[in-house]
Subunit: 194 residues, 2 copies
DNA sequence: CGCGTGATTGAAACCCTTCAAGTTTAGTGG
DNA sequence: CCACTAAACTTGAAGGGTTTCAATCACGCG
């Protein structure tokens, strides 16, 4: 709970958090375990205390496409499914053994009632999510595979070293083979990662 | 103002809207006029009463990439720039002669103070935006040009007929020539649009 | 040690882009 | 209402970037 309390501490007082703690569940899951199945309704958001989660879809051909990575102090969920109570198109699973905090919409509603600060905090988080997605769309539309990869390792240096390359390739929208070649080409050009 | 009042009527009473009306500005702009310049901070959201707006970026090579279309009753803006007060990466301009309502963050704050209904309405709108973006990312990662086009005309039949093809191509992340060929191929396969 | 997963490499195929030319459409002014 | 022009769309041929498929290599784990 440590990190999640810390995460909330700017917007909720200690006593307020304690009031809300009954809506929180701490959970430990192993690498590869699944938190959300495509087709089922997503009823929780997941805050990562330690470890690494990801969300992804599987297309008709059975190929995985990584939508998002969530390392420590990130929240991952399917907000569409959560808010509109419709079946999710996405999976969420653990890339590493992970300790996480689960919370549902009731937590968000109660916290919003308790604190205006939390409301604006949450609002800001939503807007930040939109910002990230917008930039990603923009890059998918305009950047080459190499540019997207460089952008990725610069934005998420921390994640780059922790996930297999094929997952990064999937996030970038290219094949593992292509990413391998991109990296080879970068090495040739004396690019030093990190 | 008609449509915007209507848009708000579920979450705010008539008198509440009247109180807030001083934060609203109605504006008419001609086709091609620009509402937001990349590099400048976005201070308003735009609600389309009549007409059609779009947001887009311009990459290093001078190519446009359409991020979003906004027909009647849609809101368009750069939320990142708005909320974080940073220079926008995007342009917003008018695809058709457009009547719109401009409002700033003060409007949102005041409306949120006045009405819990508005808060949840606004929250829902943000989540809906995230949902749309998420699906788009997913499609950019997994679908072919043809699939993306079919998906587009199904999702936005109304927009398809109102914007030039090269803008749709830009939205889909392909060249106008490619879209032309995709359409030709669909016609060959006896696909009837609409 | 051996198996399985992930990374690399090569060759061919494919999709999409680029460039260039031609056609159609839309808008403007006489 | 026609003539003219610019913009949008189409079409073709060549080229580039990525994918696909297959084979090989590297490594960690039971």
């Amino acid at each position: 709970m440590e990190e999640f309390y810390n995460y909330l501490s700017d917007s909720l007082s200690k006593s307020e958090i304690d009031q809300l703690s009954k809506f929180l569940v701490e959970k430990r899951i192993g690498k590869g375990e699944i938190l959300l199945q495509a087709g089922s309704v997503c009823n929780h958001s997941f805050f990562v205390e330690e470890g690494l989660l990801r969300s992804f879809s599987i297309d008709k051909q059975g190929k995985e496409h990584v939508i998002q990575f969530a390392p420590e102090n990130w929240i991952i969920s399917d907000r569409s499914s959560l808010l509109f109570q419709e079946p999710s198109e996405f999976f969420i699973d653990a890339v590493e053994n992970t300790t996480l905090i689960m919370f549902d919409e009731e937590f968000v509603v109660k916290a919003s009632e308790l604190s205006a600060k939390y409301r604006s905090f949450n609002q800001k988080a939503l807007n930040n999510h939109i910002r990230h997605q917008q930039r990603r769309i923009n890059r998918l539309l305009s950047a080459t595979a190499e540019e997207r990869y460089l952008n990725f390792i610069q934005l998420y240096p921390n994640i780059t070293l922790r996930v297999p390359q094929w997952m990064i390739a999937s996030y970038l929208g290219i094949t593992p083979e292509s990413l391998s070649r991109v990296r080879k080409e970068l090495a040739r050009k004396n690019f030093i990662p990190g």
